[in-house]
């Protein structure tokens, strides 16, 4: 066991993947000497060389497009998008090419490309540095979309994503990069990439979250426990595919469900969850599935972001409302 921050766990996972497979490449803006603006690729260029850890020109469409070409040639590129808000120049390559080439080739082509995106807010940043664009990608068939919430998962999930034969959009909760946990870097006995995890068992209400919101939900659950309310928290980990069985097993027991994410609620990922849970657990539900998220506005300036982000109080408020129905 080693104590690692989430950022360092990512770094260690990437390193393992590069050691285990010489075809794994890391590419992106400032990922080389600088080690990335969040230092996730720190030291990799020094140890694996400039041919495998590539400082690319400043062009996201170019980065993803050439990663596709490298994948066609047998490599496994791991692409870093510097910040969530800068994935959009690459959206065309991701949506029209990366996601669809397998089908276009009748299954002949695989694109094992991982697109890493630091996501979410809460770091006091300027515009475009705090967004949660996951729904754009979960809506795009052909992509797998996952989001880690803690160092243990960061370490294993990045390696599993790299091993995936399909393209994976990998969201990293940037404000949790500095969170620490014990990580067993020797073991490979990992939860499957696309399985959800019950991270806090409970009886009265199920709270679903992923990425940066998981920690907030755990804190909310602890606070609720003081009021005698037992909250079960599930870390979805994988958004597409979704491990719906773990979710419904929980909601069938609790009869209440709150979904939490930082992205705007309107047409957000929570809408899909609410619809599916309603279909599967209709007669077990004591209240509608409630959603807590960002407002349906652009991400606000940092001086008001605390108001925008789902916090303990807003989660608890939603939990309360499921009991008031």
């Amino acid at each position: 066991m080693t104590t690692l921050t989430l950022g360092k766990a990512m770094n260690t996972g990437l390193r393992k993947a590069m050691e285990n497979d010489p075809k794994v490449l890391v590419m992106g803006e400032d990922v080389g000497k600088l080690g990335g603006v969040f230092r996730i690729t720190d030291g990799l260029q020094k140890d694996f060389g400039e041919e495998r850890v590539i400082d690319t020109p400043l062009a996201e469409s170019g980065i993803v497009g050439t990663a596709i070409g490298l994948a066609l040639r047998g490599y496994r590129p791991v692409v870093e998008i510097q910040f969530d808000g800068f994935v959009f120049p690459a959206a065309d390559q991701i949506i029209t090419q990366l996601a669809k080439m397998r089908m276009r080739s009748l299954g002949a082509l695989s694109l094992p490309v991982v697109v890493r995106i630091p996501c979410g807010g809460g770091i006091g940043a300027v515009e475009h540095h705090s967004e949660s664009p996951e729904a754009y990608f979960t809506h795009t068939a052909g992509l797998r979309v996952v989001s880690c919430s803690n160092p243990v998962d960061a370490y294993s999930m990045i390696q599993q994503a790299i091993a995936s034969p399909d393209p994976v959009i990998f969201f990293e909760p940037k404000r949790r990069y500095w969170d620490k946990a014990e990580v067993d870097t020797e073991s490979t006995d990992w939860t499957p990439l696309h399985a959800a995890k019950v991270v806090r068992p409970g009886e009265h209400v199920t709270v679903l979250a992923y990425g940066p919101s998981v920690k907030t939900c755990l804190e909310a659950a602890a606070a609720a426990a003081e009021d005698g309310r037992s909250v079960e928290v599930i870390d979805l980990r994988s958004l597409n595919p979704l491990d719906i069985d773990t979710v419904t097993a929980s909601v069938d027991r609790t009869g209440r469900c709150v979904v939490v994410h930082e992205a705007p609620v309107f047409n957000g990922y929570g809408a899909e969850l609410a619809a599916r849970i309603t279909e599967r657990c209709f007669y077990r539900l004591e209240a509608p599935v409630l959603r807590v998220g960002g407002f349906s506005t652009p991400y606000p300036p940092s001086r008001v972001e605390e108001q925008y982000l789902p916090d303990l109080d807003r989660i608890l408020d939603a939990v309360d409302r499921t009991f008031a129905w």
Partner: protein, 376 residues
């Protein structure tokens, strides 16, 4: 000859550093260039000096405010003052500026209150000035985007039928060396070229895009790219305020009179970190910074003024005092900038009432009020 499969042949043609337009040497000596005659009065030069000094001072103040936690971030223009002041003082009232996030000197010349720039980096808003007021568009953070906006705006000017008349304006798009790799920048070159749009592409090649050196963006000098798109490109000493003024003036005049786009590459250097969160010691050598320090854009103007007896000690002192006072005033006003209220999150998302905004705003207001009820 062995060829490095990644870097290419060592003597690739076009890699030798080309000439740049210079009118004032780093030592402060005035030199003539056949294509760029420039006639400046002593008053003009003193004005440029004042702009340079005040801009640098305001920038340093913003860095200090960031260190003290008053701003979330700042992108310093240190070292790029001449490129910005020179080009901006070439602008006329009808011209329209499309900046990146580092054009504080240009903003100054356009009369934008520097407090507005600070507001954005403090996190009070995402921009917050009216671009029409000073013909200075909002700062753009997504690298390269604004070059297309500038091109489209220029196509609008063209369609207004004013080119060649006294009310003709051009647009000027600022961007960095790193930006030249973006698809948007290439596309703006293509559009501007085929439509002969009245635009000046002003690239501040400050040698770095965060940690990546110019060679990661281009194998040929950037200004030479213009040729491939079919319009002139020129490299200017970006630390020479005279040359930047003269070259931009000419390019703007060409644009306003219907002669189409020009790419100006201002060869300069980012003396500071990329932003206040960056640590350049991880990727570049102190020696490089030291070498560029000798080409300081302000020192050479001062030397020129002194050498020609165009300014006395009292003038320099007065400028310093003014800079300090302006910075102090900026600091004071920054510290009392009010935070936006929580309900402002829902403002300005749509032009007219929007049911979802109203619903969420009302619900959030009620939610906030519930805490007050609890407290009372």
């Amino acid at each position: 000859m062995t060829i490095d499969s990644v870097r290419g042949a060592p003597d690739t043609p076009g890699l030798a550093e080309p000439e740049l337009v210079q009118l004032l040497t780093p030592e402060g000596e005035r030199v003539e260039h056949p294509d760029y005659p420039l006639d400046l009065s002593a008053e003009d030069v003193r004005g440029l000096y004042r702009d340079l000094v005040i801009t640098r001072k305001l920038d340093l103040e913003a860095v200090a405010l960031t260190r003290q936690g008053e701003l979330g971030l700042w992108a310093s223009l240190l070292g790029q003052e001449a490129a910005q002041i020179g080009s901006a003082r070439a602008l006329g009232e009808h011209d329209m500026v499309f900046p990146t996030y580092r054009e504080h000197g240009v903003a100054w010349c356009r009369g934008v209150d520097p407090l507005r720039l600070l507001g954005m980096f403090r996190g009070v808003n995402h921009g917050g000035w009216d671009p029409a007021e000073h013909r200075f568009h909002l700062y753009t953070i997504v690298i390269g985007s604004q070059t297309l906006h500038a091109t489209g705006y220029a196509m609008g000017i063209q369609r207004d039928g004013v080119l060649g008349t006294p009310s003709a304006g051009a647009t000027i798009a600022y961007f960095g060396d790193g930006a030249t790799s973006q698809g948007d920048v290439h596309e703006s070159f293509v559009f501007a070229s085929v439509f002969n749009a009245p635009i000046v592409f002003f690239c501040q090649n400050n040698q770095w895009a965060i940690s990546e050196p110019l060679e990661r963006q281009s194998r040929i000098p950037l200004f030479k790219r213009a040729q491939g798109y079919g319009f002139p490109g020129i490299r200017v000493d970006g630390n020479d305020v005279f040359a930047c003024l003269a070259v931009t003036r000419r390019a703007l005049e060409n644009a306003r009179t219907g002669q189409g786009p020009t790419l100006v590459e201002a060869f300069t250097y980012r003396m500071g970190a990329h932003t206040t969160t960056d640590d350049p010691t991880r990727y570049r050598l102190k020696a490089e910074e030291e070498a560029w320090k000798l080409k300081d854009p302000i020192e050479r103007v001062k030397a020129y003024l002194v050498r020609g007896d165009l300014a006395d000690a009292a003038f320099f002192e007065a400028v310093d005092d003014e800079a300090k006072a302006t910075a102090k005033d900026l600091r004071e006003r920054c510290l009392v900038l009010p935070d936006p209220g929580p309900l402002t999150i829902f403002e300005n998302v749509y032009a007219e009432d929007h049911p979802l905004m109203t619903e969420e705003q009302e619900r959030f207001a009620a939610y906030l009020a519930s805490f007050e009820e609890e407290a009372s």
